[in-house]
């Protein structure tokens, strides 16, 4: 069966261009970048070139990029690293209630360690208001962390406005842009961003590599100690093929940005319009200020995991924020923060496309989905026609 992959916010296929760039570093130029010999220095040069590519994609300088093992590590380094390094200045952090667990769990850890965290509410579209950020600032605030694009509902946050507020108050501003790179324009200088997290596997680079941009002069300390790689901020032998892949993906992502965004937007709109024709369905997230690749909708009376698995049996790969698919059985914190009731939150379904998807694939989804929804509703005690 042909499979239709529409879960690109979970992870993406490594693109052939990226894989080609990586391959020599497994079996030919496999040196350790810290080694003095030719093989080592070649690896070192490749890592530096990738650093330039990543920096360029977000308007940073190469010396401001720290390679990490994933988006989560970048988020942890940003939060824990600046919280501790600036503890003398203050102990208060501002974030939003719709962040990824990589931010929320880390903030909870910091709370256990004595820091204070404000979790800003969002509107029904999952959007943080810049005014609420400003209102939450105290003399103890050292860091504001608000994501660029929400991973569940695709809402784009007003990061430039938040960056300006942070700058005015001389507070560090971090944005988790794991879902933003390649989807929205990002420029750390224009947007007044002090730290920015990204992850390779969301942009057709491999899993196992991410990066944190840290503006020159930012006070931050390491999470992982050792041989001093990555300017002492992430010790451990560099994941050279992964880093090369991330560099390439950034280069390609910028090169093809307009084309990709136009394509993704077209597919998204088509899917969104088609889905919203189904009864008792409503869109989650902002209707227009949303990621070009994200459609998230709630299907009343049915539960997301069942929906995802029925779609999977039909060859369509999507995801859900349903509690039934998670360990703690709580419905998606993002949908709840948007003011949705738990029953509806359980029935959420997320499709996230990429430049690799096609219009025919969307047609097939729109043909297949209504029947599945009907079948599940027929089984549901909540559904009375």
């Amino acid at each position: 069966m042909k499979r239709i992959y529409l879960d690109n916010s979970a992870t993406t296929k490594v693109s052939p261009e990226v894989l080609d760039a990586m391959l020599p570093f497994f079996t030919e130029n496999y040196g350790n970048p810290s080694s003095l010999h030719t093989m080592g220095q070649e690896a070192n040069v490749a890592v530096q070139a990738a650093r330039e590519q990543v920096a360029k994609a977000i308007g940073a300088d190469a010396g401001e990029i720290i390679f990490t093992s994933c988006g989560t590590e970048a988020d942890n380094l940003a939060l824990v690293g600046t919280a501790y390094a600036n503890r003398k200045k203050g102990d208060h952090i501002i974030t939003s209630s719709v962040e990824h667990p990589a931010i929320l769990r880390t903030c909870e850890y910091l709370e256990k360690e004595g820091f204070k965290v404000t979790y800003l509410p969002v509107d029904n579209y999952g959007m943080v208001s810049p005014a609420s950020v400003e209102a939450a600032i105290t003399p103890q605030t050292t860091l504001i962390s608000v994501m660029a694009v929400n991973n569940e509902i695709g809402t784009i946050q007003p990061i430039k406005e938040i960056g300006n507020i942070a700058k005015d108050h001389k507070i560090y501003f971090h944005t988790d842009a794991v879902q933003g790179v390649g989807k929205i324009p990002l420029n750390v200088k224009n947007d007044n961003i002090d730290m920015l997290s990204l992850a390779g596997h969301k942009i057709h680079a491999p899993k196992g590599v991410g990066a944190l941009y840290v503006k020159k002069g930012t006070r931050i300390q390491a999470l992982i100690h050792g041989g001093g790689q990555e300017r002492n901020m992430k010790s451990g032998t560099e994941n050279v093929p992964g880093i090369v892949g991330l560099g390439k993906a950034c280069e390609v992502g910028i090169r093809d940005f307009d084309k990709n965004v136009a394509h993704m937007t077209k597919l998204r709109n088509k899917l969104m319009e088609g889905i919203l024709k189904i009864d008792h369905v409503h869109l989650n997230g902002h209707p227009t200020i949303r990621s070009p690749n994200n459609v998230n909708a709630s299907f009343n009376f049915i539960e997301g995991e069942s929906l995802v698995l029925f779609l999977d049996m039909a060859g369509i790969e999507a995801s859900t924020g349903s509690a039934c698919s998670s360990k703690n059985l709580k419905a998606s914190h993002v949908l709840l923060a948007c003011g949705m009731n738990p029953e509806e939150a359980h029935g959420s379904l997320r499709f996230t496309n990429s430049e690799l998807n096609t219009g025919e694939e969307i047609d097939y989804v729109l043909e297949t989905l209504p029947g599945i929804v009907d079948r599940l509703r027929a089984m549901s005690p909540l559904y009375k026609k």
């Binding site: 979970a10 349903s322 998670s326 059985l329 709580k330």
Partner: protein
């Protein structure tokens, strides 16, 4: 796959879906806030379950356990059916992931409640409900399973 083939079989092709309008007993359990709600309808004849149907709002495990318990219980005496335990259900399905074990509880509870409500009816008592409201943590032990969060 996190689910056994038997779970997937019952999930993709569930048995005895539906309602019994003139049911002798109805057992409704679950908590929509937690994303699960299950109703089991029974018909009783000669102390045996002559018919049984279910409706379920919930995950694949919830649907599969509902389906399998109806096939297990159909034709059983009430005494035997009421003894079907969560482990019996899970075993019959070839196992369930740890965080999904509570779904098998749900199915066993719904059947028990349907039988209890049948008996209460005979005694002229009003039916009980097994539906709870509000937030609760009812996961058994998810420690060894990767949680699924939106990535």
């Amino acid at each position: 796959m996190m689910y056994s083939p038997k779970v997937m079989q019952h999930f993709s092709n569930p048995q005895n879906v539906g309602e019994i309008p003139d049911a002798d007993g109805v057992g409704e359990v679950g908590n929509p806030v937690c994303g699960d709600l299950m109703t089991i309808y029974i018909k009783v004849k000669d102390n045996k379950l002559s018919d049984i149907k279910f409706k379920t709002f919930g995950c694949a495990a919830a649907i599969a356990t509902s389906s399998i318990i109806t096939t297990m219980a159909k034709g059983m005496t009430l005494e035997d059916a009421v003894k079907i335990s969560r482990n019996d259900v899970a075993k019959e399905l070839g196992g369930l992931p740890p965080q999904k074990m509570h779904c098998s509880n749900l199915a066993a509870d719904a059947l028990k409640l349907a039988i209890e409500n049948y008996r209460r009816k005979l005694q002229g008592l009003p039916p009980r409900t097994g539906v709870t409201e509000g937030e609760e943590e009812h996961a058994e032990d998810g420690a060894s399973c990767p949680p699924e969060e939106h990535k």
